[in-house]
Each structure stands twice: as structure tokens, then as C-alpha cells.
Amino acid sequence: MNVLTIAIYIVFGVAALLTLWRIVVGPSILDRAVASDVLLTLVMCVLGAEMAINHHTRTLPVLLIIAAVGVFGSITIARFVARKDTVDR
């Protein structure tokens, strides 16, 4: 647990909190889709960083599965969202 590791944890945590704030406040569902995509990427990066820091390979298949199927979430939202959900901007 050195300075670099602590800095990595803090940066990941702040990034996740900011992304969650965007998911909460919206304003449209596509903004939330983009933000949740970023959050999924953040999960992948955290899993990989944890593997590299602790020197194990247990979560490598999880990385592959998330990279393969994580795209379907935002594709489905973008495909089936209503044509007009314009909110007051």
C-alpha cells in the first residue's frame, strides 16, 4: 500500500462518483445510457487494476465477458427509446 496505489483508488472513486451523479441527474435517458456505459468501463478498469496490483488472474474471464456483452445495454436503450423524449432544457 504505497502512495501510487492510494492515488489510484482515490481517482477511481472520484470518477465513479461523478459518473453516478450524471446517471442520477439525467436529463435524458440517452445521457444516462452514456454514463452507465462509462460506469461499466470503470468497472472493467477497476477489475484489471486490482488484478495488476494484487498479482492474480482470477477476474480475467470477467473482463472478457464484460467487454463482449456490455455493449448490448446501451444499444438496446438507443434502439428502443422513444423518438421524442425531449425534456425541458
Binding site: 501510487l4 477511481f12 470518477a15 461523478l18 440517452l30 445521457d31 462509462v38 488472474t57 467487454a67 455493449v71
Partner: protein, 121 residues
């Protein structure tokens, strides 16, 4: 040899830190940009470069060829699927009207926007 291993670990940590900073930049961009396409622009940075940096860090940290052989398809799959979601979300944002019209200099999709709602797509 142990000294070199220590240096490789430090290099892996630095790569992870750069990837984490990319994620932070994407989050700040998500908060500060105004509409969906600009937020999409910020969001695609960690999806490709950040993940490549993290995978390089894993390879440097674990130092075995089977792990590298596992990391290559992860990066390739991510490179193949990230543009799919970005394209779909951006297209739907244009059709939805959730973009800032005044920020467009050229609107090459203005005609295709007139498609009837039953045309699909």
C-alpha cells in the same frame, strides 16, 4: 532480477494511474458537457485508451505469455464493440432532438430526419 521486477511493478502502477486519470477525465466531461454527442465524445476515451493502458499494466505486472494471450482478445473485443454503442446512441440522440441544434455547423442528416416513424431504424 528482483530489482527489475520491482521496476516493472512501478511501471504497471503508473500505467494504471494514467488509465484511472482517463476515467476521471471522462467523468468530468460527462458532468460539464452540454448534450449527448459531446458527452459521448468524452465517454469514449477510457473505453479504448484507458482499457489498453490497464491491460498493458496487467501484462507488465503478471509477466506471463498466457495472460497476454488472454488480454489481446479483451482489447480486440472492446475495440470492436465500443463504436457500436456510440453509433447507436449518437444516431438516436440526433433523431430524438436531444442535441444542441445551434452547435451544428453542417447538418448532413437533415433529409434523413424526415423519414416517417414507421420506417424503422
Amino acid at each position: 532480477m528482483t530489482e527489475m521486477n520491482a521496476w516493472l511493478d512501478v511501471a504497471a502502477l503508473v500505467l494504471i494511474l494514467i488509465g484511472a486519470l482517463l476515467c476521471l477525465i471522462a467523468a468530468i466531461g460527462l458532468l460539464r458537457f452540454r448534450d449527448v454527442p459531446t458527452r459521448l465524445h468524452a465517454a469514449t476515451k477510457p473505453q479504448v485508451l484507458g482499457l489498453i493502458l490497464i491491460c498493458l499494466a496487467i501484462a507488465l505486472s503478471l509477466r506471463s505469455w498466457p495472460v497476454v494471450a488472454f488480454l489481446v482478445p479483451i482489447v480486440l473485443v472492446q475495440l470492436a464493440t465500443a463504436p457500436l454503442s456510440a453509433h447507436m446512441v449518437g444516431r438516436q440522440a440526433y433523431r430524438n432532438g436531444t442535441i444542441d441544434e445551434r452547435s451544428l455547423f453542417v447538418d448532413e442528416l437533415a433529409q434523413s430526419r424526415q423519414t416517417p416513424p414507421a420506417a424503422g431504424g
